[in-house]
Symmetry: C2
Subunit: 112 residues, 2 copies
């Protein structure tokens, strides 16, 4: 086997081709940022495994965080399009979004 590194001369650097479209990158990054938090990743895991929608008060009971913080994290997941919310009386029920990009769905299948 040969050396793995290609030949090169000083002062000459050629940019590699960008394999991904800019819009796709930003879209992926938005989802990744939403998932790149321990609390939110666990929230998504719980929702993905739950057959029924989960009341957000149960998350408040599950995590050692204040109620506004839990609400804030869930809002992040909502803004990223990962979860849907439905109100029932004084309660708010969250579930995994029904219309997930196939790429996002595959991501969650790997992660949680």
């Amino acid at each position: 086997m040969k050396s793995a590194v290609p030949d090169r001369v000083k002062g000459v650097c050629s940019p590699p081709a960008m394999p991904m479209a800019l819009a796709k990158v930003d879209q992926s990054v938005e989802v990744l940022k939403a998932l790149a938090d321990p609390t939110r990743l666990q929230m998504v895991g719980i929702l993905k495994r739950s057959a029924e929608p989960v009341c957000i008060c149960d998350f408040t009971a599950a995590f050692d965080l204040s109620q506004p913080t839990i609400s804030h994290h869930m809002a992040k997941l909502r803004e990223a399009g990962l979860v849907d919310v439905s109100k029932a009386g004084i309660w708010a029920y969250y579930r995994l979004a029904s219309r997930l990009e196939p790429k996002t769905r595959a991501l969650l299948d790997v992660l949680v």
Copy 2:
């Protein structure tokens, strides 16, 4: 079909079971945080598609960012265990890490 939301009484919230081990969560979050940046995600995409190691000077030429910033991003990927580096003369060549967790490999297959 019945109502989707379970019955509930006021003042009673039961925490749902945590589906993932804490260590697994933190490990995934570390990788997700490394990928949750447009520059780094594109870097990984370029490395994944490249048969040969890529000189970091080519990344500096590709992105509209300063050389320290490119070096900083690559260091983040290194710390997350996503890339390997090999020095050759005055140049530094990066490639996708050979020993990737199966989960991480699957993640990259979905993303890039």
